[in-house]
Symmetry: D2
Subunit: 475 residues, 4 copies
């Protein structure tokens, strides 16, 4: 397993293809390093006594101890631990832990390459096995690249007026393929070692060029990472806080005629498996959401309770009811993840698959409620979350005393603690980073309607109708 | 194990203390027999190949095969099976399976008698053991009697202007105690063999007379069962349906100076354990709700899908979205039950305790959504659920043809099937029985606010505040 | 203006074509008379000092004082008073006032016949004028018959496998037309003097036979009223209450080759005006809903407050919040009706038209919230609303004392008042009549999705997009 | 009336007491000027042909034409026009129009000074009259300063451990009073000419020092404005847009022993009128919210429709349903404002008072739904609203072409328009300014619970209970 330092050193060596703030930058740029802190945590805590039981696993390929973020789930317990790990880490770092994307991809690849080989006699599972061992051995971080720009939303890939709106094969060579297109919403991309690409949807028989999946180093020739960063504003030392360490970079990753060698290909034209690849990734990722959303929920619950406490209203009945509301959202989502693990099944590859219904109702409940959760925090925190004077005024020699005096709340809580607590509430409710997280809370792992489609696609409605027909006396 | 016939025969022998329809009746009265059909199912299906794996268990007391409705849960698996059994049976009978009350009581008694003995050196656990073995041996059915009338809602038991508003001890004798009061909302009481009584709330140190728990035969001298029945209207043979077999009797059970012998007492003055007894029963019963509400949900899902099918609108996007809504409610509640079992722990008595948070967020979600579920069925079924001509008109020689013609919907579905389907929707949406079930869906196992109290009483809000403080930089 | 007695006497004279309880009955059958009580109120209160300012109007046709339920709205004030009258009467009678259907129809007919004549040179407006004067002169009550059975929901009228699924013209004669089909959900039909028929939807150019509107006496040859009654259970005298006077009859009204004379025709083949006729009736009826739903809301608010009062929890903060929720629903709907009247416009006929957007958002809000309102009442009333012993037990010499003792709540409220209050809650929450009202609350005046269609059909979304484009800097 | 230029020139002349970005600045600082643009619009449009009918009024004091933002409402029509003006202006400027605070204050002052004089023989109404004329004559802009820091939320003003947590009188002199304290959440304060101060709550008999209301110039000695600015990020010229002109400054306004001359005092110790002053301002301000929230709603509706249009999903049924949801929120709130105006009454001063119930249910509905509205926009806009590459990348010579290519959606919409549209969605969903607006949408004009209190304080629940008692047969 790598240390956090090795990870950062490896990033620094990569070729420059990251664009941020109007310029091309290296991966040792302070902004990238800052954004990588959540991922760094996944390295550093793997060595800690307190967290290593969560953050490490035993490879089913090599028998070695590996970072759980490179592990292929082998049983129910693996899924349960992944969920718990994800929740804990998100609550600790104050947001998305970011490293799940790649490993959710790799688990999906393990399942679908096997199924495809079994059906078509292809050899993608061998590619996967070799790649997975390399991935675990080197303790790699991968960006998951699934979502295509999609152009006109009601046209299928092959019908787009611009064929590149979905990433596709433009050349098939003896030693590999050349692909063109872009993938968007790629969290983590500029500080990942690798990119794993899968289709984003079902493909029709006429769309074999779009049925493609592979993994390549993130600095491969022809790859461009066009980035947008969201962060929490820095603060002067006396009111500084760990929350300012959190940031996020999202990438529009362009593949401008990129070559992919044969042994890195996981799907190449088998349209029948494009959909399953997309859905299996989504399934793993939605199960991850049943961990991360409760983790973010924990942060919102805690911040809400903290604001209530400072304002001395924790015992008010409407406050308690709102806290229970927050708790119920977080725990129902988490319960759905537990159920998805408990009802999990084994794929042909031996990989453990979460239950589709439970992973989806869990993710759906999270997505339907995240604005509501922020709303409750807003309700309890009060207007000062939006009107709190900035640190420049807090520290101003002329008016700082006024600021400190007039933010005071219940006796016994220091002005500094109140200021820090309100600053956190202000960051969550009005700062760009946490709104990006909010949008991700709605759309990450599939927009709300995608979960409905996944549920309706597999749920046994007929069985339920049979109950109704029986009661109604219909044969 | 008894057969259904033995159960009914035993009921018929009991002393008359049931009041219904303005008269005192025997337990062989057709109305009582009709209402007992759900319970009968728990006997008959225990013998069936298809259901016996759910409906039977091995007694931890005697090692014998017993009906699961008399079983004390010994491990996670027991809780999982109980939940699954409950869901299946409720969907099958089209409503509440009714027999859970007593066994949820007995499980709670097993836990709290042990804890009380350990603390105070009492001997209630011995009483419980002897009673439990008798209960299992005779495959008994018990009514759970918990809810007191409660009089003035903001006064505690000892402060009530009428002290009998909470059931209490009026005399302590050498051979037992005499109690007075009433318990309300007693589903199943007139067709149960036994009544198990527990307190309904915490008791203060001055309320030892109200801290009382015991079990007695349902026809004990001084017990009066004042009943209300809700049923589905009978129909002529050609449009008859199993749903008309469903009915429910609720009892206000009066204890008019009833003697309870010493060996049937489970709590007698230990105020400290009144609250735990109330909450532990509620915990088991809320966990049962994570099975029964999804079972009723299955019926609503199925009926909604059936109505959509008949009207040929199953593929409409708003219909699919509403079905997913129904599915999500049912499965989130069920997932919470799974999580409650998965995170269950062992009490000092060896009995398995569901997790408090998950059992409560599950029950809470069910209670918050049941009106919403009926609303969706109403939305999809359309107005005819309320305006469907009655069977008298359907079978009328003059106008029956018109009725049959004008209820037709999509081609290929017979007039009879449509009429039966709409009759079911009409029963669910406008019939008394299913509205009683709706009210029970809100209040059964504790009114909505009780779950909030249970959650806030145990949830680790401090841990969540610690996350927030850490992020905010507060020590 | 007629008296209530004259109205009932006129009903008694009509030919028998009402089917209820498996038999053909006269309109002097006690069940019909019972159901007509709400309508009777519209006659009796028109004579009362307290209500005549609401219940009477001055005819714009004759200048005479007429019952407002026969009035054609001439200005904003008329719409405001109609809304207020409707709210008051619904709260008074405890449900639907029932007489609005016919007059909402007649107002729609006044508008569309004029528009049609202006466009096509037809003479329907003359028919309307003559009919309206007759209607006012005789103080008539009309059933509105709009909703066709509709058969396969995704097929248009002309595409139905049974052409009669939408009422249509089967013969055009010199002196009139012959129609065939049925109309469902016809509240009031068996105790109305007249039936006014309009199309239920847009019609295509190939559907001229289905584009038909007319008025005929309710006992016309070939008309069959197939009825379903919902009522509140009778009670013994000592616990009797006005709520038991409420009942409702819904009719599936069959037109089996019914002749309509020329002077009673309002639309006959002009497909272009079928949609406007349907929508204009819906518009008036949804505006009526902005009066009646708040009236029913008043009853639910009052019952909820009464239950809270009896239980001594009126000051609890969660109770107050729930009351505000109920108040907000009722008053927002009422406000939408006021806005619809305030923004009303004059049709070519001189009839005042409520604003489409406000009438629809009001009706939509009502329909979306009625289950929520019942849910709140259920929450506050508690389980006893479903388990209250029946009057037979309340009055039973053996156990009546127990019932009366154990329903007592806060000191000072008599057992009789508590019993009556709970009986009301029980009727509303579990009785058939109020569930029929609940279904009507969702579907009456157009199912929820119909309001969405009405809103999207007229709302100026382009103007809103222009704001967005301006802010975005898009030309 | 002043021109926009005169207003800015007057600001520039004021003494420096504004603190922003860590320094004391003049009101001609570019940040302040930028923030004042919304207010500037209220001057410039008052001269435009298109808007002057909304933006001007005739003074009831002088008969002169004045800016409506200085007008005292004299009749229903005034309230209707104010509401319409507010909606239009908010939609135009893309957010809060900001100038309503002061005039809502002055209307409240007109009412309560008169009532106080009538009761106590004070002379505050004369002060008001003189001040109002001066205010109108000079076309002034006032900040409304109502909300005190409030310290410990469950302690009343006189019980606070720091007495300054509510602004209060510290000295009574012959020529005036000296006050100390602070007011928070003061939108507009650094670019207002005047500050009008009122109490924020009811005061007890022992709190006469806290029952104080007055107006002073914003740069009075001892006043400190401690500010926080939120704005939309600037953009390069080719993708610039009017939305970047919007910004907001909120002030914590400190009164450090500030002298108020006698003729500027509106309340001084009359505790009985502190509550009415607070509530009357809230009433006017909540009525203003029934204009501004629909205006902001218009912007959200328009942006949502624009995003749907670009993505070619405007006709999808779930999109239409969500647009109707947005429309319903905006129009129900607006309808409540119309109803509040329609049911308005005249105060003793002659000032027109909106109806309390309607103003409050409208504001409440807005506050309960604003997160939901953003949620819908987020849902339709998709993840790109959070991951859109920044302008630096859009204009980058190396990767700009990629950005422009891969944001394209339906054919025929230019890359520039798409980029601008997504930039707007991104600003609304993730930018600080619009989140401040979101928090204001919840708390502005009184936090959600305050509306519940206002409604319960005045609503005639007894009348509703009377309906229930009548139906139940209770005398």
């Amino acid at each position: 397993m790598r240390t956090q330092e090795q990870y950062l050193a490896d990033l620094a060596k990569m070729k420059h293809n990251v664009y941020l703030g109007g310029e091309k930058i290296g991966r040792d740029d302070p902004r990238v390093v800052h954004a990588s802190r959540a991922v760094c945590t996944t390295f550093s805590l793997a060595e800690s006594e307190e967290y290593k039981h969560l953050l490490t696993a035993t490879s089913h390929l090599t028998g070695k101890t590996i970072n759980r973020f490179t592990h292929i789930h082998q049983n129910m317990e693996d899924l349960m631990i992944k969920q718990e790990m994800t929740r804990k880490l998100c609550a600790l770092v104050g947001g998305c832990i970011q490293r799940c994307m790649g490993i959710d991809m790799l688990n999906a690849v393990s399942v679908v390459t096997k199924d495809c080989d079994l059906k078509f006699g292809t050899h993608y599972y061998e590619n996967y096995l070799k790649y997975a061992e390399y991935f675990q051995e080197n303790d790699l971080v991968a960006a998951g690249a699934q979502t295509d720009p999609k152009g006109d939303r009601i046209a299928r890939p092959a019908q787009q007026w611009d064929p590149d709106q979905y990433l596709h094969i433009v050349e098939r060579r003896e030693d590999g393929i050349v692909v063109k297109g872009a993938k968007i919403h790629n969290t983590i991309a500029p500080y990942a070692d690798e990119i794993i690409v899968t289709p984003t949807r079902y493909m029709g028989p006429d769309e074999s060029d779009w049925a493609v999946s592979f993994a390549i180093p993130a600095d491969t020739e022809g790859v461009y990472m066009i980035c947008r960063q969201a962060e929490v504003a820095k603060r002067p030392e006396n009111v500084d806080a760990p929350v300012t360490n959190v940031s996020d970079i999202e990438s529009m990753t362009v593949f401008d005629n990129v070559f992919v060698p044969n042994d890195r290909i996981f799907l190449c034209g088998e349209t029948e498996f494009a959909g399953p690849m997309a859905l299996t990734f989504a399934l793993y990722h939605r199960h991850s959401y049943t961990g991360c959303k409760p983790g973010i929920g924990d942060m919102v619950i805690g911040t809400t309770a903290l604001m209530a406490d400072i304002n001395n209203i924790r015992k008010q009945s409407h406050v308690k009811e709102k806290l229970v509301d927050l708790i119920s959202v977080a725990e129902l989502v988490y319960a759905a993840g537990i159920a998805a693990a408990y009802k999990s099944t084994k794929a042909a590859s031996g990989t453990q698959l979460p239950d589709v219904t439970y992973a989806n109702v869990g993710r759906r409940h999270a997505g339907h409620n995240i604005y509501h959760e922020y709303n409750i925090l807003c309700d309890i925190a009060g207007g000062l979350a939006a009107t709190l004077p900035a640190p420049g005024e807090y520290n101003n020699p002329e008016v700082g005393d006024f600021v400190r005096k007039y933010i005071r709340r219940k006796e016994g809580v220091s002005e500094e603690d109140i200021y820090k607590a309100y600053s956190l509430a202000s960051d969550i409710l009005t700062g760009e980073l946490f709104q990006v997280l909010l949008v991700a809370g709605v759309h990450g792992g599939g927009s709300p309607i995608m979960e409905d489609i996944a549920i309706m696609g597999t749920y046994n409605v007929k069985e339920k109708m049979a109950y109704a027909k029986h009661l109604a006396g219909i044969d």
